[in-house]
C-alpha cells in the first residue's frame, strides 16, 4: 500500500478510484503560491478524499505525506486525527511517528498539539516517557515556545506528584546551561508557584512550608543574579516571587544595594561573606539597571515623601544616564509620584 515517495498520486493505480480536486475552480487567484508538482498532486488528492469523507489507512499515508511537505497544514492534521480514531490505529504507533516529526518540525504548532490530542485520548501513554522526550527536544531548541508550553500542559494535565518533583532539577539543569534562558525561568515559576493543581508543589502546605519555599527561591535567584547581574530574566523572576508572596521589595534591598555601586566603591568590603546577600562576581558590570529600577520601586513602595524623592533620583539616573532608550518611561514614573510628593 505504501508508495515510493517520488510517484505522484495521479500515476498511482492504488489511488485511481479517487477524483483529485484542483484548488481553484473558476477563480483566477490573486497572490497565489507557486506550488511544486509533488505538493499540488498530494493536496489535490487530499481535497478529493475530504470530499468523499473516506477514512482509511491510505488516508493516513496521504496526510503524512502532506504533513511532511507542509507541517502547518492544519486541515491535514485534523483529518488525520479523525481518521486515526475511525480506523483505530494504536495511538502508541502514532506517537512514535510523532517523535520523529516533532524533532523535524519543532517550530510548528501542530506537531505539539497532535501529541496533546493523543495523550488526552489515551491515558495509557506514559507521561514519564513524554517528559524525557520533551527534555531531549528542548536540548535542541532551548527556548521553543510550543515545547515549553506543552511540557507545562502535560504536568498540569497529569498532575502527578512524582512528576512535579523532578521538575526543579530539570529547571536547574536548563539554567546551568544558560542562566539567561527566560523560558526556563518561566517554567520555574510555573512549577514552584502555579503548578500542582492548586497552590503549587511545596507551596500548598503550611505557613512554615511556604516560608521555606520562599527562602529557597530567593536564595537561588540571588545566587544566579550574583553570577551575572545584568540578566533581566532573573530580576523578573525575583519580582514575580515577591509579588506573588506579597513580600515587600524593601526586604531585599540589602542584597540589591550591592548591585548599584561601582566596582571601585566596594573594594575592601568583599571579605565579609554574607550567604543571604551574595556579592556581584568579579566580572560584573555595575551599576546594574535592573537593580536601580528595583531599588526605585522599593523606595516608591515605602509610600512616604522621602521614599518617593529617593525613587525620583534613581529614575533620573536611569532616564539620563543608565537606560536612555527608556527615557520616556522613567519620566512617566517620575510624573506619577511627583503628583503625590508633598500632597
Amino acid at each position: 500500500m505504501t508508495s515510493p515517495a517520488d510517484v505522484l498520486y495521479a500515476d498511482n493505480p492504488a489511488w485511481a478510484d479517487v477524483t483529485p480536486l484542483p484548488q481553484y475552480e473558476g477563480v483566477n487567484p490573486l497572490a497565489p503560491i507557486l506550488y511544486t508538482e509533488e505538493y499540488k498532486d498530494a493536496t489535490d488528492y487530499f481535497r478529493g478524499i475530504v470530499k468523499t469523507g473516506e477514512k482509511s489507512p491510505r488516508v493516513l499515508e496521504l496526510t503524512e505525506k502532506i504533513i511532511r511537505l507542509n507541517p502547518a497544514h492544519y486541515s491535514a492534521w485534523q483529518y488525520r486525527f479523525e481518521t486515526l480514531k475511525a480506523v483505530k490505529v494504536p495511538l502508541e504507533d502514532e506517537l512514535k511517528l510523532m517523535d520523529e516529526l516533532a524533532v523535524k518540525y519543532l517550530k510548528t504548532y501542530q506537531v505539539w498539539h497532535h501529541r496533546r490530542l493523543l495523550l488526552t485520548e489515551s491515558y495509557n501513554l506514559e507521561p514519564k516517557r513524554e517528559l524525557e522526550f520533551i527534555a531531549k527536544s528542548l536540548k535542541a531548541d532551548t527556548k521553543n515556545y510550543h515545547t515549553w508550553s506543552y511540557r507545562q500542559w502535560l504536568l498540569a494535565f497529569v498532575n502527578d506528584g512524582e512528576l512535579w518533583v523532578g521538575e526543579l532539577d530539570f529547571v536547574e539543569e536548563m539554567l546551568n546551561e544558560d542562566l539567561r534562558n527566560n523560558s526556563a525561568w518561566h517554567h520555574r515559576f510555573f512549577v514552584v508557584w502555579l503548578g500542582g493543581g492548586g497552590g503549587g508543589m511545596g507551596v500548598g502546605g503550611t505557613r512554615e512550608e511556604k516560608e521555606r519555599v520562599l527562602r529557597r527561591e530567593l536564595t537561588f535567584t540571588k545566587q544566579l543574579i550574583s553570577l551575572a547581574p545584568n540578566n533581566p530574566s532573573a530580576w523578573n523572576y525575583l519580582r514575580g516571587v515577591l509579588d506573588r508572596t506579597e513580600t515587600p521589595y524593601g526586604l531585599i534591598l540589602p542584597f540589591v544595594r550591592l548591585y548599584i555601586v561601582n566596582l571601585s566603591d566596594r573594594a575592601g568590603s568583599t571579605d565579609i561573606v554574607d550567604v543571604e546577600n551574595p556579592p556581584p562576581s568579579e566580572g560584573a558590570q555595575l551599576p546594574c539597571t535592573a537593580a536601580l529600577e528595583f531599588t526605585a520601586d522599593a523606595y516608591e513602595r515605602q509610600g512616604d515623601d522621602e521614599g518617593r524623592k529617593k525613587a525620583v533620583e534613581l529614575w533620573k539616573v536611569l532616564a539620563n544616564e543608565q537606560d536612555t532608550i527608556r527615557k520616556r518611561y522613567w519620566e512617566f514614573r517620575i510624573r506619577g509620584v511627583e503628583k503625590k510628593v508633598g500632597a
Partner: protein
C-alpha cells in the same frame, strides 16, 4: 556621539549572550552614525568570545540613506516586492504557508494600504473572488479552498475584505454568511471562555483576538459569545506582565466537561504576539466589562495588571546598540515584526488612561502644532516607547536592499515582516488615540438599525450594546500635527487602527456597512480620510 553600549555580559557568556553579541555586531553596521561605522566591533571588550564579523553583502552596503544622510523608506522597492508576490505569485518556499493563504493576501493588501496605495478595480475583484473561495460551507474561512474553517484565516479574510470589498453582489461583504460564521464561533468555544482556533486544534489568544475583531467588525459580538472570555484573557498574564499563548484548560476533558476549581496557570512565557492579542482582546471586551460584566463563574469581574504590562512592553525595546527595535520575549533578539506587536501595543494602553492621552488631547490646548519631523521630539512626544528609535530600527535594519522588510539583517524579506514592519512604522510615526469626544459623537449620530439575530436561540445585541461597540471601536483618532517621521515627510505612511491593523478609513467603511450607519455622516469634518 558616544559609542552605544553593548549589552553587558558580566564576564559570564552563555548561549543567549553569544547570539545577542553577534546580533549587536551585525546591527551595529547598520547604525546611522558614521562615526560608529569606522569601528569594527561595538564595545568589543565586553563581548567575550564574539565571533569574527559575519560577512554579508547586505549588512555593510546598500544602506537605505538619502543624499542628506537620513534614512529613506524605499517605497518603490517595497511596492515592487508586493506587486511581484501579488501578480506573479509567491515562490515555492511559501508552500509552508499554504494553510495561511488569507494571511499572505491580507499582509500584501494591508502593506499597500499603509503605503497609501489602492488596487485597480480589476485586481480588487480578483482579490475579493479569491478571498470568497476560502469561505467554508459550514461558516468561517479556511487557510485555502477546501481547508477547514479556522479563526486565524477568518480574521485575515475578513480584514482583506475590509480593504478591497464592497457591499452588493460580488463585493464580498454581503457574501459573508454571518449566521454560519457565528455558529462556527460558538462551535469552537470552550466551557472556560477560551476558543479552539479550529475543531480539534489548539487554544490560544491569537484565536480569541481574531474572533473578537471579526465579530466586532461584522456586528455579531454577543454576550453569549464572550461569556468567560475576559477570565481566559486574564488567566494568560504571566508574572512578567506580558501574556502567554494560553492557560491550562479549567474544565475536565471528555464529552461532558465540567468546570474545575483550581487556578489556570498560563502556558508559556510572556510573548510579544500574544501580549498584543490579549491586550487588544481586552480592549474589544470593554463594552461588556464597562457595562458591569460580572464574570461567568465567579462573583467578581476579572482584572489584569496593566502597570506590569506597561513595564514589560517598555522592557522589550532594545537599546541604542540594537537600534531601538523590539524583542518578543525577555532575553531574546530584536525582530522587526515586534515593531507592531509590541510597539503597536502602547496605543492600546491609552484606552485605560496609561500614556499620552490620559488627558484628552484637547483642541484648546494645542490649536496648531506644526508637523514635527526630525527635530523637536522632546517637545511634543508624550509616548512611553521610544518612537524615534523604533523608526530608526525599521528604516536602517528592517528594509531589505532588494525590497520588502524583514526580521533583521542579513535575513530575507517576507510578506509577514513586510506588513508588520510597516504597521510598526505607522504606529511609531502617528499618535492614534481613543478620543472620548469622538466616541460621544459617534454614539450621538447612531441610527437604530436592525441587529444581527443569531439563529441559535439566544438573543443578539440590544441597540444600546451595538451602539457602544460601534462607537468604542471607531473612536480612534489621529492626533493632528503629532506625526513624527524620521527621515522627513517623504517617509510618511498611513495611520493604522491600533486594534484592527487596518487603516482608520477601512475600519469605518466595513463597520458602517454592518451596523447600518451612514459613513459620510460619521466621518464628519474631524476624521481625515486617508488615501488607500
Amino acid at each position: 556621539m558616544t559609542l552605544p553600549r553593548a549589552t553587558p555580559v558580566d564576564g559570564f557568556p552563555t548561549h543567549t549572550s553569544r547570539v545577542q553579541a553577534e546580533t549587536e555586531e551585525i546591527l551595529f553596521k547598520h547604525h546611522p552614525d558614521p562615526l560608529s561605522n569606522n569601528n569594527a566591533t561595538p564595545g568589543s571588550s565586553s563581548l567575550g568570545a564574539a565571533s569574527t564579523p559575519t560577512s554579508s553583502s547586505s549588512s555593510t552596503q546598500g544602506k537605505p540613506a538619502d543624499s542628506d544622510g537620513g534614512p529613506a523608506l524605499q517605497k518603490q522597492l517595497h511596492m515592487s516586492f508586493l506587486v511581484r508576490n501579488m501578480v506573479q505569485g509567491f515562490p515555492a518556499r511559501y508552500i509552508s504557508q499554504d494553510a495561511s493563504q488569507p494571511w499572505l493576501m491580507f499582509w500584501t493588501l494591508q502593506a499597500f494600504s499603509i503605503l497609501q496605495v489602492g488596487l485597480d478595480p480589476g485586481n480588487k475583484q480578483r482579490a475579493i473572488d479569491t478571498v470568497m473561495s476560502w469561505q467554508h460551507p459550514d461558516g468561517g474561512f479556511g487557510g485555502g479552498p477546501g481547508q477547514r474553517p479556522h479563526l486565524l484565516p477568518t480574521y485575515a479574510s475578513v480584514c482583506a475584505l475590509a480593504v478591497v470589498g464592497r457591499p452588493g453582489p460580488g463585493g464580498g461583504w454581503d457574501q459573508i454568511d454571518r449566521q454560519k460564521l457565528y455558529r462556527f464561533f460558538m462551535s469552537v468555544k470552550q466551557p472556560d471562555g477560551s476558543f479552539l482556533v479550529a475543531k480539534d486544534a489548539e487554544v490560544d489568544v491569537r484565536g480569541t483576538y481574531c474572533l473578537l475583531v471579526v465579530a466586532t467588525l461584522l456586528g455579531i459580538l454577543t454576550p453569549e459569545l464572550i461569556e468567560g472570555t475576559p477570565e481566559f484573557i486574564a488567566s494568560c498574564q504571566t508574572y512578567e506582565g506580558g501574556f502567554a499563548s494560553a492557560s491550562q484548560p479549567s474544565y475536565s476533558p471528555g464529552p461532558n466537561p465540567t468546570l474545575l476549581e483550581f487556578p489556570r496557570p498560563p502556558l508559556g512565557e510572556a510573548h510579544g504576539g500574544y501580549t498584543f492579542c490579549a491586550l487588544a482582546s481586552w480592549v474589544l471586551l470593554q463594552p461588556f466589562l464597562e457595562a458591569g460584566y460580572k464574570g461567568a463563574h465567579s462573583s467578581k469581574p476579572p482584572t489584569i495588571d496593566l502597570n506590569n504590562t506597561l513595564r514589560w512592553l517598555v522592557q522589550m525595546q532594545g537599546t541604542e546598540i540594537e537600534l531601538g527595535g523590539f524583542k518578543g520575549r525577555t532575553n531574546k533578539l530584536v525582530d522587526g515584526c515586534y515593531s507592531w506587536w509590541v510597539g503597536g501595543a502602547f496605543a492600546l494602553l491609552e484606552v485605560f488612561g496609561i500614556g499620552a492621552s490620559s488627558e484628552e488631547i484637547g483642541s484648546q490646548n494645542q490649536p496648531s502644532k506644526d508637523e514635527k519631523l526630525d527635530d523637536g521630539w522632546d517637545d511634543v512626544d508624550d509616548s512611553l516607547l521610544n518612537r524615534k528609535a523604533l523608526q530608526e530600527y525599521i528604516l536602517w535594519a528592517g528594509q531589505h536592499p532588494a525590497g520588502g522588510l524583514r526580521d533583521k539583517p542579513p535575513k530575507h524579506a517576507d510578506a509577514y515582516h513586510t506588513q508588520y514592519c510597516l504597521a510598526g512604522l505607522s504606529a511609531a510615526q502617528h499618535h492614534v488615540y481613543p478620543s472620548v469626544s469622538r466616541e460621544q459623537a459617534l454614539a450621538q449620530a447612531w441610527v437604530e438599525t436592525e441587529p444581527f439575530e443569531p439563529d441559535l436561540g439566544h438573543p443578539g445585541l440590544s441597540q444600546e450594546q451595538r451602539k457602544t461597540i460601534f462607537a468604542k471601536a471607531l473612536c480612534w483618532k489621529e492626533e493632528e500635527g503629532a506625526s513624527k517621521c524620521v527621515g522627513g515627510a517623504k517617509n510618511r505612511v498611513n495611520a493604522s487602527h491600533p486594534v484592527f491593523d487596518l487603516t482608520i478609513t477601512h475600519s469605518q467603511g466595513i463597520m458602517a456597512h454592518f451596523y447600518g450607519q451612514d459613513l459620510e455622516r460619521l466621518r464628519g469634518p474631524a476624521a481625515k480620510p486617508t488615501a488607500a
